[in-house]
């Protein structure tokens, strides 16, 4: 797995929540260090409930 995959942030186009792989989403069952691509398709944005497909890659 390349370094960029596990550090690439993704942003929810619906509400602006940023998924940072370093933090994961522990309360949502996603441990820190999980690349966005490895998150299950059933996961949704912790703020607004949007699906994975509503996320796009995000550069700071």
């Amino acid at each position: 797995m390349s370094a960029t995959q596990t550090t690439q942030k993704w942003i929810c186009e619906s509400c602006g929540f940023i998924y940072d792989p370093m933090d994961g989403d522990p309360d949502g069952g996603i441990p820190p260090g999980t690349a966005f691509e490895d998150i299950p398709e059933t996961w949704f944005c912790p703020v607004c409930g949007a699906r994975k497909r509503d996320f796009v890659p995000h550069e700071d």
């Binding site: 942003i11 186009e13 602006g16 929540f17 989403d25 309360d27 703020v47 607004c48």
Partner: protein, 396 residues
């Protein structure tokens, strides 16, 4: 700068949170009925049943002006540590049992027959302050992932009957903030009194649509206990039924009054948080991502401490799951002239509100009124008063 950051990483306690113990002052709010009763007992004066609104609108407005501002931010390296410190969570959890002890106490007073009618109504307005600010506590809790905190959010909402806020705020408002489609984002030229029915009805309808859609995706219809609006409202029904059973029907009109006024308090806060601000449209037709410039902020310490940093609103929209103690002041975010307590008083008097806020809104958009979120009914008046603007935003 680097050595300081390293030092804080290894020893986060080297940075001290100046507001750490101030957050406990937030508990003054659920204690209001007890404080009101104590003042009435001590002085014999029934005016103190109105202590809730007197404190919030009278005293806190003054405190905002006197105590002043605090734009200090925790260093980035400390934010994670600050967020996981459970002390801060407990400040919000403790709000809830005190809130309900106060409500039971108020019902006992309402049913006692000792208060005059004016006193009963004053106590209802005091409970409305608790009710409305409890929605703010519910806001903090409802943004978290842990199911305990989300459940506590609904519990806090039961008093005001505003359970649908739990759905609409995260999945509606945070998605549509600062656009004309958001019932909870106020428009230039829209008075608070016009905004109130629009947001109350619009948020209710939107929350129902959102929840129906969620349930449809899991293959079910809306009429189920899995419907988070229905199960939240059910808490209110059970709560009111229990209070009526214990204290009699006499408490019902006051429960309803504190619910309506409490919800209105929340809505006036919605009014001032995004008044007139507008996200522009991208080429693909979608709205741009929410940025700090799309929320009004305030650093007045007194109101901030009462409201768990709600006034650091831009950072909240940028980081909605961030815990209140770690929210930051942002320099490039538009600032209100005073804290929420004072701003609420201004919002209740539309000509004063317009005088104070409209020019600030225009300055924020460099004089171009077409970049603001304008109330359609007021559009002609607004454009005539503030100019037709330049380029793409101008009306043909």
């Amino acid at each position: 700068m680097d050595t300081i950051a390293v030092e804080e990483e290894l020893n986060p306690a080297s940075w001290r949170d100046g507001k750490r113990y101030a957050w406990l002052l937030g508990l003054i709010v659920p204690l209001l009925p007890f404080i009101a009763w104590a003042y009435v007992e001590l002085t014999g004066r029934g005016i103190f049943w109105w202590w809730g609104p007197i404190l919030v609108f009278g005293i806190f407005s003054l405190l905002d002006a006197i105590v002043g501002m605090d734009a200090e931010n925790p260093p980035d390296s400390v934010i994670k540590w600050l967020e996981q410190d459970r002390y801060y969570r407990w400040c919000t959890y403790v709000f809830i049992p005190v809130q309900y002890a106060g409500l039971v106490f108020a019902c006992w007073l309402w049913s006692s027959g000792d208060l005059s009618t004016v006193g009963q109504i004053g106590l209802a307005f005091t409970m409305a302050m608790v009710s409305g600010i409890a929605i703010n506590t519910a806001h903090e809790l409802g943004h978290k992932r842990a199911s305990l905190e989300r459940w506590l959010s609904k519990v806090a909402l039961a008093q005001s009957g505003y359970g649908h806020f739990f759905i609409e705020h995260n999945r509606g408002h945070h998605v549509r903030v600062a656009t004309p489609e958001d019932p909870a984002s106020a428009r230039l030229g829209e008075s608070f009194w016009a905004f109130l029915p629009r947001t109350a009805w619009g948020s209710l309808r939107s929350s129902w649509e959102l929840e129906c859609e969620r349930l449809r995706r899991t293959g079910g219809g809306p009429w189920t206990w899995k419907n988070d609006i229905l199960n939240a409202w059910a808490m209110t029904v059970v709560l009111y039924a229990a209070l009526i059973a214990a204290f009699g029907w006499v408490v019902l009109p006051y429960l309803l009054l504190q619910s309506v006024v409490g919800a209105s308090l929340l809505e006036v806060v919605n009014y001032l948080e995004h008044y007139g601000l507008l996200r522009s449209r991208r080429e693909d037709g979608r709205y741009e991502l929410t940025r700090p410039e799309h929320s009004w902020n305030s650093n007045n310490v007194a109101s901030n401490v009462l409201l768990y940093h709600l006034q650091r609103h831009s950072d909240h929209h940028a980081n909605p799951t961030r815990r209140y103690q770690a929210l930051r002041h942002m320099d490039d975010a538009p600032q209100l002239p005073t804290g929420y307590a004072g701003m609420i008083v201004l919002a209740l008097v539309p000509p004063v509100w317009r005088r104070v806020m409209d020019h600030r809104l225009l300055e924020h958009y460099e004089g171009d009124v077409t970049r603001t979120n304008i109330q359609p009914r007021a559009r002609r008046r607004v454009l005539k008063r503030y100019g037709g603007g330049t380029g793409a935003g101008a009306v043909a």
